[in-house]
Amino acid sequence: MTVVQVSAGWVPLAAVLLLAGAAAAAGLDGALAARAQGLPAGRGLVTPVAETARLFRQRRRTTVAADSPLRWVGVAGLLTVALLMAAVVPFGRWTVADLAVGVVWFNAMDVLLWAAVWLAGWGPNSLHPLVGGYRFLAQALCYELPLMFALTAPAVAAGSLRLGDVVAAQSGLWFVVWMPVAFAVFCAAVLAFSVWGPFRAPADATGAGGVLAESSGVDRWLLGTGRYALLAAGAAFGTTVFLGGGQGPVLPAELWLLVKTAVLLAALVVLGRRLPVVRPERLAAPAWLVALPLVLVQLLVVTVVVVVRG
């Protein structure tokens, strides 16, 4: 199956799909939260709509001596990065951007988040957001290298950085089957760059909302939606490089991609809710002493298999 690059006119459709994924993740999270509160889960499903209505009706706040241009870069950055990540994911036979370096592109976009989240924290000129921004950098130091090596494994196995080739290389066996460690590290990193679940320390209650603490109205909507969109984009990319992308019997490739992405996204949301926050200073040791060596061993195994198979 070859992947065809479609015209840029289809980008809005990709954005709509991404936002739908973000809304689905927010709805699922709202439903789970409502159930924990003892309310019918159905009431939580409207959370994304209700929060959108609430935030669009709310005034934007400014703070004293805020660094507005940089703040806007940060606030708009999360959603932008999520869309740029999703742009390289092949949707069945079609893709918005068929890059020869798709895997590297995803990694480069995720590094942009270092700047985006930090700027969102720096911009308001206020203590808790700034601390949150730095906590994100500390967290990024923990997840970035393991993530890079986790992404290297599928690329080595496929012998290509092009996502269409990575999907084609999984026609026999999904990469998740023989790269479970890389897949687990990738999923953890998606949670971490989305500032979600156990890795939401940059925006958690101990910092009164951290990078979100001073934002309201549409700023808060962009940051919140950006986080869910990053989760959705990460799930779509993870599906592509580890779960066989659009591969599957009977159903068309597009539908398979959507189904697998939805399942992975739901798993990330559910998993993220079940785990308490891991503060960045506690994360550093396991990330560097356990996750990084394990993912390197995984990469070694994959490389040896590829060399032996010729």
Binding site: A33, R54, R59, R61, A205, L212, A213, R282
Partner: protein, 374 residues
């Protein structure tokens, strides 16, 4: 109410300002918020409604006013004095939020640009409410050479971002009228990482979610590290109602568990603990649920790992205290504000929040402890 307004108020975020002694009222607010499908706000910027539980004294009232000024709007503010007031008060708040013309007028009346806040009184007045209240009204200007004035920002205040300490250097740039963080004088401590970071004076509290009522901790920060701290309790106006205490009861134990779990990031566990607390306050028999939740909390390895070593006091840390509460252990630990200040010194802001939550202070217990100047 049209559809947009109905949707926009379906998840109304409520910030609760609890006055020491009105814990049962705060619990009633939290229960009502939950049953309406609303949620608790994490910061003033996140809030639609400010609920003041109890009668705050002058300093606490001033802090609450500051927080109120930070709500983005549409906003509503209500005052409740007892659990029975809560449902009608929240109905009134909802009506306020839905009243678009009134909200427009409120927005038009507010200054377009944020202004720097006033300063938290830093002069210790351990005895005598009169002297303390007088201090509360004193708002030194930014050129006041007094020692380390703090902006009284309630919680995470954007309006007083970088409160400098070195006020003597008048040629220092002051963006937005706010002095930059600067090298401290005598309070600049040797930095453990040898970074010689600028010091910043930041008050934590008194209006902060998952935080003891009325507690105000004046912290001196280098980076996000608390290098010095002084704690005090802002008092209510008059005596709190009798029988409004939650502390020291089984419900109070689960209230403490809920606060610590919320800060530790276990939202579902915190929700379960809060529901259990409310069931106990309503007089329900919840022994089975207590045992179940207690087991769940004590078995969470990740939770224990993340709380291990936090706030060590008498050989027990936050993880031990949480397990103790979850196992239906006695709650009351006598602790002074000096000990609180000592425990949050030398840790980062996030850990400081966990430490304070793990101590479960009863700020309505008015045993006076002299607090020395930092």
């Amino acid at each position: 109410m049209d559809l947009t307004t109905r949707l926009a108020t379906a998840r109304t975020a409520v910030l609760v300002a609890e006055v020491p002694g009105w814990a049962a009222t705060r619990c009633a607010v939290e229960r009502e918020v939950r049953t309406r499908g609303w949620r608790l706000a994490g910061s003033p910027a996140d809030a639609d409604v400010l609920v003041v539980c109890g009668r705050p004294g002058p300093r606490l009232a001033a802090a609450v006013d500051h927080v109120w000024a930070q709500l983005p709007g549409p906003r509503a503010r209500v005052q409740v004095h007892g659990p029975a007031d809560v449902p009608p008060a929240l109905d009134a708040a909802l009506a306020d939020l839905a009243d678009a013309p009134a909200q427009r007028r409120d927005a038009a009346d507010r200054p377009a640009e944020p202004a720097p806040g006033s300063l938290a009184t830093d002069l210790p007045a351990p005895d005598g409410d009169a002297a303390r209240d007088e201090d509360a009204d004193r708002t030194p200007g930014f050129d006041d050479p007094g020692p380390a004035p703090d902006p009284d920002d309630g919680t995470d205040d954007g309006t007083d971002p970088d409160d400098g300490t070195d006020m003597s250097g008048m040629d220092m740039p002051m963006p937005g009228g706010v002095p930059l963080a600067g090298g401290g004088d005598d309070d600049q401590l040797p930095d453990p990482d040898r970074l010689d970071l600028d010091v910043l004076h930041v008050p934590l509290g008194p209006v902060l979610p998952c935080w003891p009522a009325g507690l105000l901790v004046h912290t001196t920060l280098q980076g996000d590290l608390v290098v010095a701290a002084r704690a005090e309790v802002l008092e209510p106006a008059g005596a709190p109602p009798a029988g409004d205490g939650v502390h020291g009861t089984p419900a109070g134990r689960w209230d403490a568990v809920a606060a610590l779990l919320a800060l530790a990031g276990d939202a579902d566990g915190a929700a379960a603990a809060a529901r259990l607390r409310d069931a106990l306050l309503a007089g329900a028999d919840a022994a089975a649920e207590e045992a179940r939740l207690g087991r769940r909390v004590r078995r969470s390895r990740l939770l224990h790992w993340s709380l291990r070593g936090v706030g060590e006091l008498d050989g027990a840390d936050a993880a031990d205290r949480l397990a103790h509460w979850a196992g239906a252990g006695e709650q009351l630990v006598p602790i002074t504000l000096e000990q609180v200040a000592a425990l949050v010194t030398g840790v980062d802001l996030a850990t400081a929040r966990l430490v304070v939550a793990s101590l479960d202070l009863d700020t309505s217990d008015r045993t006076r402890v002299p607090v020395p100047a930092p």
